[in-house]
């Protein structure tokens, strides 16, 4: 019996999304096959990894991921420059953690200032993330969209509770938009529909089906991503064709496995390596499931995932 490879041709395709301006513009998405299946179709752009920085010092990050940024993380501008120049980041994700009412409760005007300062200091594309407080985010991200006008950023995240104001602001200022729903393909589809019904082009959306860390629900994110991607490719479902993202660092660096010391958990081995591996394995798994944009924290995890991507190209 002679072997003939079963190659698949799909009717659908993932939208390519470009962010940033000029020479630093980057594109992700655009493939017409399952992740890294370059043997049966086109994968014109690799996934993009963005380094996460914050508007306030990362006092909430565990020590092993705070350490690499110790010298720069007191100031988002210094931090952003370090990522661009020291770490050769291709994109930076600025999380406006300090705007959360339970944190520093910084105002939209504060956020505007931070964004303008960071944008002035870097040339790589910027992703601007709120503090995940639905109400506050709608005010902050409207200001953020205006502050970054003309820079072709990604604004996020729009959720069911606040998508109208955020999508309108992103649209008016010509940005891309993250649409986040909670681990359910139908909710994800519904939110994308609601956003496009406002006149926001589906080609400018990035779907965030909600990340989970390895060991803490990763299998849900993994399968929702696979299902979304299959819907995009096999059913040619246009509303499911935006690229997907994984907000990996935030979910990984709050669980026990990235914090517990080796003294407390001897059977888990070296704490620093464990945390890095946790972030890298979570990222690699989501790439295999279909994520095209990852937001990550630890430089060594980013480096390892970069090497992994090189092997997959």
């Amino acid at each position: 019996m002679a072997f003939t490879p079963t190659k698949e041709t799909y009717s659908g395709k993932v939208y390519p999304v470009s962010i940033g301006t000029g020479e630093s513009e980057v594109t992700f998405g655009g493939e017409n096959v399952l992740p890294f299946h370059s043997f049966e179709g086109e994968t014109p752009n690799g996934p993009l990894i963005a380094y996460e920085i914050q508007d306030v010092p990362p006092s909430d990050w565990p020590e092993n991921v705070r350490k690499p940024y110790e010298a720069v993380s007191d100031d988002p501008v210094k931090w952003a420059k370090h990522c661009q120049e020291g770490l050769k980041a291709k994109a930076i994700a600025l999380r406006l953690t300090g705007t959360h009412p339970d944190r520093e409760n910084r105002s939209p005007e504060d956020a505007t200032k931070t964004i303008q300062d960071v944008l002035a200091a870097i040339s790589v594309p910027l992703i601007i993330l709120g503090s995940n407080h639905a109400e506050k985010d709608s005010a902050v991200l409207v200001a953020a969209s205006e502050a970054a006008k003309g820079k072709n950023c990604i604004i996020g995240k729009a959720q069911e509770a606040n998508y109208k104001t955020i999508a309108a602001a992103a649209m008016a200022n010509n940005h891309k938009l993250i649409a986040m729903s909670e681990l359910d393909i139908n909710l994800s589809k519904q939110l994308n529909i609601l956003i496009t019904q406002m006149g926001f082009e589906k080609e400018r959306v990035i779907t965030d089906p909600m990340c989970s860390a390895l060991g803490y629900g990763l299998e849900y994110t993994y399968s929702v991503m696979e299902r979304i991607r299959l819907a995009a490719l096999t059913q040619n479902d246009a509303i499911m064709q935006p690229p997907m993202m994984g907000d990996v660092g935030m979910y990984v660096w709050k669980i026990k496995e990235t914090q517990a010391s080796e003294t407390d958990m001897p059977e888990w081995g070296a704490a620093e390596e464990r945390g890095i591996a946790w972030e890298a394995v979570t990222a690699a798994s989501l790439l295999a499931a279909g994520a095209e944009l990852l937001i990550m924290r630890h430089p060594k995890a980013v480096e390892a995932v970069g090497n992994f991507l090189e092997e997959l190209a």
Partner: protein
């Protein structure tokens, strides 16, 4: 090749005798094609039909066990390409390479690492499953000596003997007589001799090839030589090739029922860079590897890979559950708050994560609701006032805490009165509806 219902029908007696429990032979044939019936149900089927149909109806990836006893590794039996379609059946085994050029002490050291690799995670025992002993020396005596050290230091651990020399393989495999090791491997130049060694010693034979075409030809040859238990190596070593070959092998088996590739896959991912090796191993776990062979098994690496394997091989149709008990988050004192929620793993992870974020040490009582989330469990009558009261009483948590206060999820605020009735002396506080409001809730209480 998978047979269609009509093709199967042609092989049946066509008597419509109904003895199989179906109204007609055609109906029975359709059920057979969907793997929802067994040919045994037909008393009149011919021997020839049995042979043809038996081959066609076997699982697309042959079930193979390697090793024996309680550490035996089950492989194969997979039926799908995506875990959301149906549970992946037999979790990928992790193996560590031991080179026969190492000193006896070093070999013993790695063997002991394997034996001590077991950890417990959400009630499952996870470990490095096997040892891949490689004949790097090219010397048969060295391989045999190393095999003896492994057998002594890691008794019962399944072994993959890696050599292209059939005499070396024969000597080493005898060290594990009756323990069903894998011999790896047969290739185009030694296939007959290796098949004989595997057959004589009742071992699984690893097949190594350059690409899938050669691989298919080799497995057919090995099968004709009387060895049916095989594991496949397409020669892929780079992540890109591993993904491509593993995918094409699984597709051929599952979608085309292509028998020559209907065997478990072994992936060799050894790399100097331990972290990169971890990532390529994780690709093997997610994408159809049955054995992943690595260079090192550091504890930090094992715990990440064990967890990934557990995640990928979870049954997507059965909600993951956590054990019913009162969990400590941080180091709670007598006056720390006490929350209650259900035992759906995602609910638990999210609630405990948000309590951790709040940095307020707490107790979280997790109640067995068969893995349902709060609202669903409430609607299904599994998260009711009387059941909550019974659980809290039986848990004995009241002896650990100062004030008898229980914080319930905001979604079941309606229960607060009836729980108070059933738990005399307790104060029931309604917490937030969504877990992400817990930090603010706790902050508000402290103020």
């Amino acid at each position: 090749m998978a047979l269609s219902g009509v093709e199967i029908f042609k092989l049946l007696p066509k008597t419509n005798c109904k003895k199989c429990g179906f109204p007609t032979c055609l109906a029975f044939a359709m059920k057979l094609a969907q793997r929802q019936a067994s040919l045994d149900a037909c008393p009149d089927v011919s021997e020839e039909a049995k042979k043809v149909l038996g081959e066609a109806s076997a699982p697309p990836v042959r079930p193979i066990t390697f090793g024996t006893g309680d550490k035996a590794v089950k492989m194969g039996e997979e039926t799908v390409l995506f875990r959301h379609d149906k549970k992946f059946v037999n979790p990928c085994a992790f193996a560590v390479e031991i080179q026969d050029t190492l000193s006896e002490a070093d070999i013993a050291g790695i063997a002991e690492q394997v034996v001590n690799s077991e950890i417990d995670r959400v009630g499952q025992k996870l470990r490095v499953d096997a040892i891949a002993l490689t004949n790097v020396s090219g010397d048969a005596g060295k391989l045999e000596a190393a095999a003896k050290t492994v057998a002594a230091k890691a008794p019962g651990v399944p072994v993959i003997i890696c050599t292209e020399n059939d005499q070396a393989a024969d000597a080493a495999v005898k060290v594990f007589a009756g323990q069903k090791p894998v011999i790896f491997g047969a290739n185009a130049s030694n296939v007959e001799a290796m098949a004989n060694v595997a057959k004589a010693n009742k071992a699984v034979l690893g097949i190594s090839a350059n690409g899938l075409e050669e691989l298919s030809a080799l497995t057919e040859k090995v099968k004709s030589l009387g060895v049916e238990d095989m594991v496949l190596d397409s020669g892929a070593r780079k992540a890109k090739d591993i993904l491509e070959h593993n995918t094409l092998i699984r597709r051929a088996a599952v979608k085309k029922n292509f028998k020559p590739l209907g065997y478990p896959i072994i992936n060799f991912v050894q790399r100097e860079d331990a972290l990169l090796e971890t990532l390529v191993a994780s690709l093997g776990v997610a994408k159809y590897g049955s054995i992943v062979v690595m260079k090192n098994i550091e504890k930090w690496k094992n715990v990440a890979l064990f967890t990934l394997r557990q995640n990928i091989y979870t049954d997507p149709q059965v909600p993951m559950q956590v054990e019913q008990k009162v969990y400590n988050i941080g180091e709670p004192k007598a006056e720390s708050p006490l929350f209650i929620t259900t035992n759906f793993s995602l609910t638990y992870f999210i609630v405990s994560g948000e309590i951790e974020n709040s940095k307020v040490a707490s107790r979280l009582a997790v109640m067995d609701c068969e893995g349902l989330s709060v609202l669903t469990a409430w609607a299904a009558g599994k998260f009711t006032a009387s059941k909550i009261a019974q659980f809290i009483t039986e848990s004995g948590v009241d002896k650990e805490i100062a004030g008898k206060e229980l914080i319930i999820p905001g979604y079941v605020a309606i229960l607060s009165g009836s729980i108070e009735d059933k738990l005399p002396g307790w104060k029931i506080t309604v917490g937030p509806r969504e877990a992400n409001a817990i930090p603010a809730f706790l902050k508000g209480r402290a103020a």
